[in-house]
């Protein structure tokens, strides 16, 4: 596997400009001769599809939902960062770049992050022009708020539904292009594999989820905008359908998978309430501005929260981190909560949470003021738990939320497989080992609106047009493999449900490769995952038929891929023998219990090459060079 990052030379501020000039262009009249496939219609996929078709390319877009508007981008709450400096508080492209590289604990690629910061300003302009109803001040100008990891106010938002409004903007742009006939959309179609001909990506195989028909689509380039893999843990804040299949299938066809062990855990989610728990719900992190986090000092304290006197409560974040207290960074707050629950101080019926208490804030500000700030969140909490957070403290616990790892891509967002691009959460490029709040929407839209529509031209202009007929041997072989895998899933006819396997894999991964990782735990997981996978293929039960709507079969295919992917994740976590960002190895901590990086040996992206199921993957490295920021250690004491 050869990795060429293709980062343009020159000063960082000029790289993108220079690259845009150096890139080969496809002339406007020729663009319609090129077919581009886009898989996924979230922020990245929908914006890329709309923009590429505006440019004149023939775009075919695929989603497993009934409508592009359902993609999980829709659930993003907080906001989107942009270096507009509308507040005049000293923000700049360089500051956003710097904050992002630092927030990622110095494990991202400088050139990509700088471009992201540059493009952030265009995203806001584009969204406003589409009619996205961002929050505004009374004077009619755009409002901003501050977010974790930044000392300036640069986050644009639309109440707690920023992702929804931005996705609808991109969705509407896409629907307009569909109406014009320049985008062809296939809804309820799941991508099952990538077609690679002579080492080049030339199409995809899909399953029509209503009829079960397996079909191939060929093109000159394929763009994967298929999101992240938090659902490897089964319980996460991701939507239920989110999965690793598209990116993992690409990895099996030769694309390198970078930094799979970088998974972000969000500290403030509602804890599970029983074995039937199907997913976890995030409560905005802004709650930590006014809530105080505590657990009972006595283990297994059965009293209600209000019956526990002040001196029998442990406000542990305030105790450990006197200066940052309840506002300690995500990873630290998460780990400390786990520590409390693991040591028997957990609260709630299942003793699986910690309290987030607003009593002091209500006393200080009054209930009305608290309600003004957090009313919608309190209502959502009450809807889910049946408890009133004005009266009893909220119960919270960390949950997997976002995955920084993804397909390795070069500066043009192309994987090491020519013609195969990855954008949005599906790639690895911008967030390093930890993503800052309000940066996911920014990256998805930068990739989709402004990067890949241009860089794909740089690829297409260099290739010789060579249409692949759908009866080409490589196409037929890939289709046959897809069919045989589905047949195999249908024919096991064992005794266990797909979900029961997914839950078991999720628990295993959460314990071994979740918030804390150890050599011992990871080695154990690497022994157990193949056993579980073997049991899956021996004992899974998929009812119904493959030739109509079959949600069990859909899940089975995705879980089967998670079973293979989980192993690479553990290999990555084991090999990365340091702590950085969200990757916390218990062997590498400072005296204060914080992550200890090892820049000498690990300032690289780890890129994994698939060698076959059950075979150890091969590790390749892309060295990360920091010319513009000084590597430093975080401290929040």
């Amino acid at each position: 596997m050869e990795l060429h990052s293709n980062i343009p030379s020159g000063p960082i501020a000029d790289k993108w400009d220079k690259h845009r000039f150096d890139m080969k262009l496809v002339n406007p009249a020729n663009k319609r001769k090129y077919d581009v496939i886009i898989v996924g219609t979230g922020l990245a996929g929908a914006s890329a599809a709309a923009t590429m078709s505006e440019l004149g390319y023939n775009v075919k877009v695929f989603t497993y939902h009934d409508s592009p508007r359902r993609a999980h981008s829709i659930a993003a709450q907080g906001g989107i960062n942009a270096a507009k400096n509308y507040q005049g508080d000293g923000d700049s492209v360089f500051r956003l770049f710097y904050d992002t590289v630092k927030g990622g604990d110095f494990r991202s690629r400088e050139a990509n992050v700088y471009r992201l910061a540059q493009l952030s300003v265009n995203i806001i302009d584009q969204a406003v022009a589409q009619g996205v109803p961002f929050a505004r001040e009374y004077g009619g100008l755009l409002a901003n708020r501050s977010f974790g990891g930044a000392q300036v106010s640069r986050t644009f938002y639309a109440r707690g539904q920023t992702g929804q409004q931005l996705l609808l903007g991109a969705y509407q742009a896409l629907e307009r292009q569909i109406h014009d006939g320049s985008v062809e959309i296939s809804t309820r179609h799941e991508m099952m594999d990538v077609i690679v001909v002579d080492g080049v990506a030339r199409g995809i195989v899909t399953r029509d989820m209503v009829s079960g028909t397996i079909q191939s689509f060929t093109a000159d380039a394929v763009v994967l905008a298929t999101g992240g893999y938090s659902n490897v843990f089964f319980l996460s804040t991701n939507a239920k359908y989110c999965n690793v299949t598209a990116t993992w299938r690409a990895a099996r066809r030769g694309a390198g998978f970078a930094n799979p062990c970088y998974t972000q855990i969000h500290p403030t989610c509602i804890p599970p309430s029983g074995d039937y728990q199907s997913k976890l719900t995030l409560m905005s992190e802004s709650l930590r501005n006014d809530g105080r986090i505590w657990v009972p000092k006595h283990k297994d304290d059965a009293r209600g929260a209000r019956d526990i006197p002040e001196d029998e409560r442990d406000y542990y974040l305030e105790r450990f981190y006197p200066s940052f207290g309840n506002l300690s960074p995500r990873d630290i707050a998460s780990r400390r909560a786990k520590e409390m629950v693991d040591s028997g101080h957990g609260v709630g019926e299942m003793k699986n949470g910690v309290y987030l208490d607003f009593n002091d804030a209500i006393g200080r500000l009054g209930q009305d003021a608290v309600s003004e700030r957090y009313g919608n969140l309190f209502a959502m909490y009450e809807k889910i738990t049946g408890e009133n957070p004005y009266e009893t403290p909220m119960r919270i616990y960390p949950a997997p939320h976002y995955t920084m790892g993804g397909l390795w891509v070069d500066y043009d967002l192309m994987t090491n497989v020519p013609g195969l691009f990855a954008i949005g959460e599906a790639n690895f490029s911008d967030h390093g080992a930890n993503r800052l709040g309000a940066s996911a929407l920014m990256q998805g839209l930068a990739d989709g609106y402004f990067v890949v529509p241009l860089t794909i031209g740089n690829y297409l202009a260099r290739i010789t047009k060579n249409p692949i007929p759908t009866d080409h041997a490589a196409v037929k072989d890939t289709e046959a493999e897809v069919k045989s895998r589905l047949d195999k899933l249908m024919s096991v006819n064992g005794s266990r449900t797909v979900d029961s396997f997914h839950i078991e894999l999720g628990r295993l991964m959460w314990n071994a490769c979740g918030m804390e990782r150890s050599k011992e735990g990871l080695e154990d997981a690497l022994r157990r995952i193949p056993q579980l996978r073997e049991e899956f293929w021996r004992d899974v039960r998929v009812p119904g038929s493959a030739s109509n709507l079959n949600q069990s079969l859909e899940k089975a295919g995705r879980v089967a891929d998670f079973m293979e992917f989980a192993e690479v994740m553990c290999h990555d976590a084991l090999t990365r023998d340091e702590s950085c960002g969200a990757h916390y190895r218990v062997e590498h901590v400072t005296e204060d219990g914080e992550a200890r990086r090892d820049d000498e040996n690990f300032a690289h992206a780890s890129v994994w090459e698939f060698n076959g199921v059950g075979e150890a993957p091969s590790l390749h490295k892309e060295d990360l060079v920091f010319d513009n920021v000084q590597l430093s250690t975080r401290s929040y004491k």
Partner: protein, 256 residues
């Protein structure tokens, strides 16, 4: 608690469909409605039967995938709540629950509780956007928008496209859905250029898709999990009248 469920089962569009009875034991009040169905589905699978097909994804009330009639009410008994956010504490031991798909000609059943809502996308395709090519936007603060207008536009834009309004309406009208988009874009300056073509185009497609007319029952507003107001339909009607009067003869220019 113990519940008796009557669930609509239908193999495909050509199957007649029928209600099947299932006993749900050990239902916890903390479960969401969909988790209760998950548990039933696990059991059906173990018993060698096909699980109940239903749509869902985010389970946070924002993606708009889920939706079913629960005792004849879209998304069930709790107001401003999608089926995924409905919890079993809204029911009591011994309850019987009837679960059916959205019923509307324009939403044909695909399987069990899953219906085809692609008509909504086609309504959006007919004008539910601002035509602004990527890269051609002016600075975000170039056009100030009064906060009131921006907030009102947001209230309309919060529609999740679930289809509860159609399911609730005795005419199976999608006017609440259509008007929410017409109002969202009509309330911001960026949406003005295409305002009149938009409302004409979207209403025409709405009718062509087989959705019924609005006769101001207001059931849609009651059923809407996002609280979209009936006022937007009034706004749409005003816009539609203006748009009809403004309609130019074919081939006429700006001054016609």
């Amino acid at each position: 608690m113990r519940l008796t469920l009557h669930v609509w089962r239908q193999q495909g569009p050509n199957d007649q469909g029928r209600l099947e009875r299932y006993e749900a034991n050990d239902v916890s009040e903390h479960m969401s409605f969909l988790e209760m169905l998950d548990v039933i589905n696990e059991r059906l699978t173990e018993d060698g039967e096909e699980p109940i097909a239903f749509e869902h994804d985010c389970r946070e009330g924002i993606c708009g995938s889920c939706g079913m009639m629960i005792n004849g009410v879209p998304h069930g008994p709790k107001t401003m709540t999608t089926a995924c956010q409905l919890h079993m504490r809204s029911f009591k031991d011994g309850d019987e629950i009837w679960i059916e798909p959205w019923r509307a000609t324009a939403f044909p059943v695909i399987k069990d509780l899953v219906v085809d809502r692609s008509g909504f996308d086609r309504i959006i395709q007919s004008g539910g956007y601002v035509s602004v090519r990527t890269g051609s936007a002016p600075d975000g603060n170039a056009i100030p928008i009064p906060k009131e207008d921006a907030d009102a536009a947001f209230d309309a834009a919060t529609c999740i496209g679930c289809g509860a309004c159609v399911a609730a309406c005795p005419n199976a009208s999608a006017m609440l859905f259509t008007s929410a988009k017409v109002a969202h874009l009509g309330l911001v300056p960026q949406g003005q250029t295409e305002r009149w073509d938009r409302v004409r185009g979207m209403v025409e497609t709405h009718d062509d898709e087989g959705f019924g007319n609005c006769t101001n029952h207001g059931a849609c507003q009651e059923a809407c999990p996002k609280g979209i107001s009936l006022d937007y339909i009034a706004q749409l009607n005003r816009d539609l009248i203006k748009a009809t009067l403004k309609a130019k003869p074919v081939g006429a220019g700006k001054d016609a």
